[in-house]
Symmetry: C2
């Protein structure tokens, strides 16, 4: 008898969900098994109502008087975000950033496995061994492996061409680290990771900082 949770979770809520996982990890390390919405909110700077609303949309781990069972809550959040499901990716553009992402161990925690990197001219990298291939080997690789996602780490000028290659290879989702807007068919899921966006917000907040 699973309870049916709301079908559509808003993007603001989705963006906050990983921060709850962070609080849960710290609480687990401190030996706790339960947290109240007030405790969670205090740690993250959110109101307790917002915490309850967010969590109610993904879990029923909350119980009046005792708070949230953090083990159940963690699992429900991870299910919602897809972190419990293993997914395979290829990466296009093995420069400094591409290499960093391929070497990042933490992605395993989020269900992401980068099987191989592709570049027009692969430079040798001892840490990545045989995981870097030539771009024209991509199509064959995708045909032989189940690939759920492509990660674009090319320069901006190459990004749209990379996207076209990806779409032609039949991959349905793109994580785009190139600082430019991709032009792909509507049915392709695209998530843009634009570092300039964040930096702009940061500079703006620095420049317009309130003086108490």
């Amino acid at each position: 008898m699973t309870t049916n949770l709301p079908q559509n979770i808003s993007t603001p809520t989705l963006l906050r969900l990983p921060s709850y996982l962070d609080v849960i990890h710290r609480a687990k390390n401190a030996g706790k098994t339960r947290l109240s919405s007030a405790e969670i909110g205090k740690e993250l700077g959110y109101g307790s109502v917002q915490v309850r609303k967010d969590l109610a949309s993904v879990s029923n781990a909350g119980k009046p008087r005792t708070g949230f069972d953090i083990y159940k809550l963690e699992d429900d959040i991870r299910d919602t975000l897809g972190f419990n499901e293993e997914k395979n990716a290829v990466l296009l553009g093995v420069g400094h950033l591409g290499r960093a992402l391929m070497n990042y161990e933490g992605f395993r925690e989020n269900g992401l496995h980068i099987l191989a990197g592709f570049d027009v001219k692969p430079t040798h990298d001892s840490t990545l061994k045989d995981k870097v291939l030539t771009l024209n080997e991509l199509e064959a690789f995708v045909a032989e492996n189940v690939i759920d996602l492509a990660i674009i780490c090319t320069p901006a000028s190459e990004a749209d061409r990379a996207a076209e290659t990806i779409v032609n290879a039949g991959i349905k989702a793109i994580w785009n680290f190139a600082p430019t807007t991709l032009h792909v068919p509507d049915e392709i899921v695209v998530q843009n990771e634009n570092i300039a966006e964040s930096l702009g917000v940061l500079w703006y907040n620095m420049i317009n900082k309130k003086h108490d």
Copy 2:
């Protein structure tokens, strides 16, 4: 007689501003000098009203009948986002990601200069030469240079300690790439760059994709 623009720009608007810069660059490369809000919106998937509202908050480069002067617009957007002002940063945690950020040329375009990286145990990296120092050299380095920002690329477990070091050294802004919430005084400007956030949104959209 400079026109006074609205004092507070909303975060959603700030996050969209870099995408306008991207469209402007492409238009410049195509030899254009003007764009209408409809053209800009079409390229980015925004409505033309949203484009005009966003741009009106940072610029008066728009003229009825002719559209926006993209050279003036670019400069106004870059001013607002602080990209026209040179700022110096230090980076803590020179692992794969830290190295990638230190090697990224594109930051110059955003006014960011990473002067040095610090690590508990600096590993030699030929591309970074003498720019990687030991963490205990940080305080002296900050005393001798004007540092506007610190970038945290340590593991999550070290991030709060790194933040403390940064705050004690007198730096007022932090760009945090460690996947954890920092605990710092209110007056410190913090921008979190959490890769798990994006990945969660991406997986969610993949899993709950509408089938047309």
